[in-house]
Amino acid sequence: MSATSTSAWGSFVTEVQKVPAFVRRDFLVQWSYRFAFFSDWANLGLQVVLFYFIGRLVDADRLPAFAGDRPSYVEFVAVGIAVTSVLQVGLSRVVTVTREEQLMGTLESLLMTPTVPTTVQIGSVMYDLAYVPIRTGLFLALVSAFLDVSFHLSGLLPAAVVLLAFIPVVWGLGMISAAAVFTFRKGLGFVGLFTLVLTGTSSTYFPVELFPGWLEAISRLNPITLALRATRDSLLGGTGWTGVGSTLLALVPAAVLTLTIGVMAFRAARRRERRRGTLGLY
């Protein structure tokens, strides 16, 4: 191994070792807001009740079948919520990290440490990335326990792999959004709109087959639609690993595209801020 690659590897390891510090910081901050911590769990329970009643309004015959099985609306939407919660973390946290640090006045202090911005972003999202699967798992468990919903247990691992492969796509989208917030400051409205468009055209809450033909065709290219289809096939249709491979292959170019644009946009935004002298200001 050359000296350069050893040095690059050493730098990588140093950066990775910083990530637990972010997780501890975020846990301590979250724990200091205990009421918000517990109200989030209450909110989760209420969400389950809400979708139970919405489910009673929806004609299940209009829902698509997965491996020949037609799910109930609650089953359909529960998987949708589980997947999009990953999207929401990726988008909102990567973006709000920058904004929160700007508002708290800590961004400048962070930037004065020998820590690359990517580590700051990844580190700041890690706590949520660990917390969201726990929260999502509990959500699915509550739905299964109280709403007569059943998932194929054999589909859990394939679904988890699809979600894992989905994270780079979300990360790229998050970086694009973060660049927008870096530049426009009050960019959270844009992020909200972006999230709504992505989830609204992805079959999270209703099947894309309900759209007009042209919009349905576009929606099928939405990476969230791809991830949702594979996850529902595994969890609701019981297809196991069948089809997971093709979904992963389809998610790779989407990840490359969004990450490339995201990295370029974020670097451009940082360069612009340094040029303008407003880096770290809000």
Binding site: T14, R24, T106, T113, R274
Partner: protein, 324 residues
């Protein structure tokens, strides 16, 4: 830690300019700071002090000019090397995570500097003791006073014992005792070999504290040297006099001006009582002689006190009369 005997200045700023839109923030600014030296960057609000500090930190790009840290041009310093050289005490009150303790904040920043958790914890405790915050280590930063937050900020800046300590307006909102403690910490850092660049708009705090100073005003360097050298530039000394004429109908200003005959300037201070006047004297006119002249003109000098210290007078003269 830096070798105090090094020949190269720790910070060398040469001909740095920066514009924001149509406004010049800095024009051809040069200064250098030696290891172990406290160098004040003095100037009124908007002079360009913070912009210069942000350029040295790499948070803002300069349009022109060169900055060398420990002899190496900024653009040739690696990202990590640059950050390790500098400790920054920012001017803002809020640069910590207010919901977690001072100790946890320092451990977090220590870990971002590459320390292990144990090493970061030990170093954080040492730094907290140095800034006299050991008793408050476990308290949330949100309950710290301004002075405590500033001391915590110094502790964070000193975590890695940087060669260069940049302090941005650290004392502007502190009580006298708090300000003295922060200055003592900077002095301690300089004694250990750090080059300290201390920005301030407080003229009163630099005397007896800094080794050299650079005065910035309207984006330009107006003075560079030691405090005594700056005081020597003071063209006049101003005193506030309380005067009362023997003849209650006499025009005090006209009578005193006539008596002084150009060897000083007397003008009303603007106070409502009409008895207070500002007397500005050139260096070669003793105060006692001027007072005797006024008294001989039939005007009693009821009180006399120095209006500006020589250093304030120099500051006002160099900045065109603007108050610090």
């Amino acid at each position: 830690m830096v070798d105090a005997g090094t020949r190269l200045p720790a910070v060398a700023i040469s001909g740095v300019s920066r514009r924001f839109g149509d406004a010049d923030a800095l024009r051809e600014v040069s200064l250098d700071v030696e290891a172990g030296e406290i160098h004040a960057l003095l100037g009124p609000n908007g002079a360009g002090k913070t912009t210069l500090l942000r350029i040295v930190c790499g948070l803002v790009d300069a349009d022109h000019g060169e900055i060398r840290l420990m002899g190496v041009p900024l653009e040739r310093l690696g990202f990590r090397e640059h950050r390790r050289l500098i400790g920054l005490v920012p001017s803002g009150d809020r640069s910590f995570y207010l919901r977690i303790s001072g100790l946890e904040n320092l451990i977090f920043f220590g870990r971002l500097h590459g320390l292990s958790r144990r090493a970061a914890s030990e170093r954080a405790l040492t730094c907290l003791e140095e800034v006299d915050l050991a008793d408050a280590a476990a308290k949330r930063v949100g309950v710290y006073s301004h002075g405590m937050q500033k001391r915590l900020s110094v502790a964070r800046a000193m975590l890695m014992e940087p060669a260069i300590l940049l302090v941005d307006e650290a004392t502007h909102d502190l009580d006298p005792d708090g300000a003295i403690r922060i200055r003592d910490l900077a002095t301690g850092a300089a004694r250990r070999g750090a080059a300290v660049l201390w920005t301030t708009q407080r003229v009163d705090e630099i005397r007896g504290f800094v080794d050299r100073l650079t005065l910035l005003h309207e984006a330009e360097v107006r003075f560079r040297g030691t405090v005594p050298q700056m005081m020597a530039t003071s063209p006049t000394t101003t005193h506030l006099l309380q005067l009362r004429a023997h003849d209650p109908h006499a025009d005090i200003t006209a009578a005193a001006r006539g008596a002084l005959d150009g060897r000083g300037q007397l003008r009303p201070s603007g106070d409502a009582d009409g008895e207070h006047f500002l007397l500005s004297l050139p260096d070669d006119v003793p105060l006692g002689q001027a007072v005797a002249t006024i008294t001989a003109a039939g005007i009693d000098v009821l009180a006399c006190r120095e209006e500006h210290s020589p250093i304030e007078s120099a500051f006002l003269a160099l900045t065109g009369g603007g108050r610090p």
